[in-house]
């Protein structure tokens, strides 16, 4: 009983308004997750360049444990596991943002570390030689130069994290993928709906890439 597949474009037009609600959540989770993730990553990345052994090891522990475990497990641990230990409910949206932040932070930390270490040692020496403290040299001299070098790999990570938000279906956050699932549960048009969802993700990732290219050009050393 080979079914006859016929493509129904009208399904796509009907799905779009509903999917746009999901997209809002996807964008919201991605933006907040990455802003927090960047802060975590900056701190942990600086930790990996620090000579303070405690700071260095704490950052190492964070990076290794997050990079070494699947995001899916982290999501479920935060949403289903932590509430039992803390004896409090974690709203799915907060759990989702938290998971994306903690996960991206570990990868961003390595980007930050690599960029900082790629700056010539002479820059630190020159900064120190005019009497700047280590901290001020980092702030005014090393960081601005390192930040430029971070942009391409950060773009990569931003795109990965955006796509990773689709894993949050397991905790029922109403983001784009979840919304797609819900529509299909009603109309069974998997082909049209997943195609639309895929194109929407593509549009989002291409937007990120474009924004970062503009940022990179703006920060270029003239």
């Amino acid at each position: 009983m080979a079914g006859h597949f016929n493509f129904k474009a009208s399904v796509i037009w009907e799905s779009i308004p509903i999917l746009l609600v999901g997209i809002k959540f996807t964008i919201f989770i991605t933006v907040f997750g990455l802003v927090i993730g960047f802060c975590l990553g900056a701190v942990a990345g600086l930790g990996r360049t620090s000579r303070n052994p405690l700071f260095y090891r704490a950052a190492g522990f964070y990076i290794e444990s997050i990079r070494g475990t699947p995001l899916m497990v982290q999501v479920m641990f935060i949403y289903f596991g932590l509430p039992l230990a803390l004896n409090m409910r974690v709203p799915p949206l907060a759990a989702g943002i938290g998971a994306i932040a903690i996960n991206s932070g570990a990868y961003i930390a390595e980007i930050v570390r690599g960029s900082i270490q790629s700056i010539d040692i002479g820059q630190m020496e020159a900064g120190r030689s005019i009497g700047l403290t280590h901290f001020k040299t980092m702030m005014y001299i090393i960081w601005p130069q390192a930040f430029r070098r971070m942009i391409p790999p950060l773009g990569n990570q931003f795109i990965i994290s955006l796509k990773d938000t689709s894993l949050l279906v397991v905790i029922g956050v109403g983001e784009l993928t979840r919304t797609g699932q819900e529509i299909i549960a009603v109309n069974f048009r998997a082909f049209e709906v997943w195609l639309t969802v895929a194109v929407m993700y593509l549009a989002l990732t291409m937007t990120i890439a474009k924004i970062l290219r503009i940022l990179e050009r703006r920060l270029e050393i003239r």
Binding site: D120, E125, R128, S129, K136, I221
Partner: protein, 244 residues
Amino acid sequence: MIKIRNLHKSFEALEVLKGIDLHVRTGEVVVIIGPSGSGKSTLLRCINRLEKLTSGEIIVDEYDINDKNTDINLIRTEAGMVFQQFNLFPHMTALKNVTLGPMKVRGISRREAEQLGMELLEKVGLKDKAHCHPNQLSGGQKQRVAIARSLALKPKVMLFDEPTSALDPELVGEVLEVMKTLAREGMTMIVVSHEMGFAREVADRVIFMDEGMIVEQNTPRELFTNPRNERTISFLSKVRSPIE
């Protein structure tokens, strides 16, 4: 101005400085020559503690640089450093390179700092390049900006670590001219360099270092025309061009 007593410096098992004693008077210009690996640069870098001493004592302008109570950032403003590779900050204009120290270390206002910065850039002949980024400057111009950047902290002594070694030959002169001007104005200077002409013209004293020790020191005239130590003679015969 600078008193160094029995300075030793090791990098792990490798002993680079093996007991250096050196006094530099205020206003004196000392040129240090010697083969590569002889410890010249390390000695210079120890003076503003870019390298930690293994043992010994360095006094800069009455401050013991190894004393825990000494503010090392203060010492570094007193002893300006000029690097072989310039190490200008590539994301800042020439003027910003010069004003960063006065503003962030001394805490003076932007207006004052920029006025000082322009004066110093004029002094090194680069007033018209104030708003250029380092990648728009030639090597000689970069090094002159680097000198201005150090001078902006009003140091009492200037340390030059092979300031012309990374330059194309035709750009060496402009940097040496700036250094000569400083010397004439009475700046205390320690210069690691192979510019024998500069040493002969400007130095009050030339020091020959080899294998982590000061082998011989004298006025340039004496050291160049009448070297006493075997190693000095051998070194000088190698670096002198046949025309001289």
